[in-house]
């Protein structure tokens, strides 16, 4: 090593690797932006062409789905409605159960019990959706079929579904959003300062009154985030409900075999051709737009939550 080497030399040598590193990190960061832009671009590029071909009104508000008929008809209104109604009822069923479980975990349960139950809930989130679908097929569908036979026996005009119907799908979806709702609610409830509860007790309120009149309202923003996340999850779930919801496009009544936006894609994409395929891309685009709206709502809620804290 030369003795007259200046410290400036080594710093210049360092600079190249420093600058290279900086740009590599910058590029890694931009990958996410690039991915979102190309996904959006492709969804529109492939999803839009079917609209003028079929006619936007006939496509979005048509009620007859016969893509392989002699005179094909591509109405996806029932599919859109099924996704909305299915998600809505899954939320109505799953959120109260999830919220009350979260209340139990944070407000009532002894600490060692929480230590057992909370990991169990996390595990529920990690179970692959095909397993939910498999269990739905084996356990839920037969049970719902019994109920169906009980209700519709002797009634003409009902197409028996063997239990593979909207009701089964709603139950599976409700179970699948439980972990999301529970986890978000638990962290929201935990973040409520103890002084709120103490103040409520000092006013003579019972524990239950405190929970429902003070703690839950104070944790509102976090709980809402959990609910909206749950909506996103239910709307985007494909495989599990494809296995339990039956396979024909019908108006979303509890005991009708139905198609969701997602299951429409799963079950027909493999063989669809021509206009049929293009329409399926439009179904994907509709789903994508729904999800983007949910995402924006989610960000607005979490931003408002941050502003409230300030």
């Amino acid at each position: 090593m030369k003795t007259n080497q200046s410290i400036m030399y080594s710093s210049r040598h360092h600079n190249t690797s420093e600058v290279t590193a900086k740009y590599i990190f910058l590029i890694s960061g931009i990958v996410a932006i690039f991915a979102v832009c190309s996904i959006t671009f492709y969804m529109f590029l492939k999803g839009a062409p079917a609209l003028p071909v079929v006619g936007p009104l006939d496509l979005l508000f048509g009620t007859v789905w016969q893509p392989t008929a002699q005179v094909p008809s591509y109405g996806i209104l029932y599919v859109i409605l099924t996704s909305m109604i299915g998600t809505g009822f899954a939320i109505l069923l799953g959120v109260p159960i999830g919220l009350l479980t979260a209340v139990f975990l944070t407000e009532i349960s002894a600490k060692h019990l929480t230590m057992i139950i909370q990991p169990a809930v996390e595990l529920l989130a990690a179970i692959p959706s095909v397993i939910y679908g498999l269990l739905g097929m084996m356990v839920l569908n037969p049970a719902i079929y019994k109920l169906e036979k009980l209700i519709f026996v002797g009634k003409a005009g009902h197409q028996f579904t063997g239990g593979a119907n909207l009701l089964s799908a709603i139950i599976v979806l409700a179970i699948m959003i439980l972990p999301t709702v529970i986890n978000m609610s638990v962290s929201a409830l935990k973040a409520v300062p103890q002084s709120y509860r103490n103040a409520s007790y000092a006013m003579g309120a019972t524990k239950i009154q405190t929970i429902f009149k003070v703690t839950i309202p104070a944790a509102k923003s976090g709980i809402m985030t959990g609910i909206v996340l749950g909506i996103g999850r239910a709307l985007g779930e494909a495989m599990a409900i494809n296995m339990v919801a039956g396979g024909s496009v019908n108006f979303p009544l509890p005991f009708n075999s139905v198609r969701f936006l997602t299951t429409q894609l799963v079950s027909e994409m493999s063989y669809a051709e021509g206009t049929h395929r293009q329409v399926l891309f439009t179904v994907g685009l509709v789903l994508f737009i729904f999800i983007m709206i949910i995402n924006l709502i989610l960000m607005a809620i979490s931003k408002r939550g941050e502003d409230d804290e300030r």
């Binding site: 996410a32 179970i127 356990v139 439980l178 296995m243 799963v266 493999s270």
Partner: protein, 290 residues
């Protein structure tokens, strides 16, 4: 008024609510226990060496999932090889380099959006872009590229959280000793954040193992093993179904024995991954408290 303040008033509605709360908590737990027990009871009998090491073949009369296990490993390895450096890089950029501004909020917005997109949309995009536009077809590579986009937010977020917990004194200490930023990141920050990064990687692997909708139209459903040493790399360009895809296809065909056998394998993997992350987070927290 005859109510004394010393007599505690009993509210019926309180008891009803308590009952509901207990019932909900109990049903959430029973659900998990029920799911695990049912799968184990139905599927455990299916598991044996032959099931795990053979490929289903009518010719030889064997039933097995070895091909699907290998495909799953392929997808895990390729996906993680691409996603881990990019995810960590993005987190380092956000946490160490970027100044708050338009670009940072745009990257964070994009990461959050990616995390919110359902897997079926990723599958659709993968099919349109990687399989058709880039001409990769139904292949393990297409599947891996698609899943890379999907697990990216998971790794970025976990790394970011881990980097945030590294005390600023570490950074100023390194700068004070004359270390450059890259040198500090390489030798101080990333090693300190390692448990968090590994947690993110394990969670991502868990997500890949459980994924199905994004792979159905990207990686396809073949279940054969590589045809010898020379096929190890070319295999990535051919179709390959993971365990979840095979479970789905078997269930659709009514082969519930195979489906439950795979379900048991998946459950065991999920349980192991869960335990590993628990262990890591626990260790991580203990180290921090010291």
């Amino acid at each position: 008024m005859k109510d004394s303040i010393c007599v505690k008033r009993k509210r019926v509605s309180d008891y009803v609510m308590y009952g509901l709360i207990y019932a909900c908590a109990a049903s959430s737990v029973l659900l998990l226990v029920g799911i695990i027990l049912y799968v184990l009871v139905k599927g455990a009998g299916q598991i044996n060496i032959s099931f795990l090491t053979n490929v289903t073949s009518v010719l030889r009369g064997t039933v097995g999932i070895a091909g699907n296990i290998v495909n799953t490993l392929y997808i895990i390895i390729i996906t993680m090889l691409i996603a881990t450096p990019i995810g960590i890089g993005a987190a380092v950029y956000l946490n160490e380099y970027a100044k708050p501004g338009k670009l940072v909020s745009l990257i964070e917005f994009a990461t959050e959006t990616l995390a919110g997109i359902p897997s079926i949309i990723f599958g659709l995009f993968g099919m349109m872009f990687f399989a058709q536009t880039l001409g990769l077809g139904y292949s393990l590579l297409t599947g891996s590229f698609t899943l890379t986009l999907m697990v990216l937010p998971l790794i970025t977020r976990n790394t970011q959280e881990a980097l945030k917990t590294v005390p600023d004194s570490y950074r100023s200490g390194a700068v004070g000793l004359g270390a450059g930023k890259w040198y500090t990141i390489r030798t101080i920050l990333l090693p300190s954040a390692m448990p968090g990064i590994i947690t993110g990687v394990i969670l991502a692997i868990g997500k890949i193992v459980g994924e199905s909708a994004a792979l159905l139209f990207t990686a396809g459903s073949a279940y054969t093993l590589p045809k010898g040493i020379s096929d190890i790399f070319t295999k990535t360009l051919s179709s390959g179904g993971t365990l979840t895809i095979q479970l789905y296809l078997s269930a659709q065909k009514g082969e519930f024995g195979i489906a439950f056998g795979i379900a048991v394998v998946l459950l065991v993997i999920v349980l192991l991954i869960n335990a590993a992350t628990k262990l890591l987070t626990k260790k991580f927290d203990v180290n921090r408290e010291k």
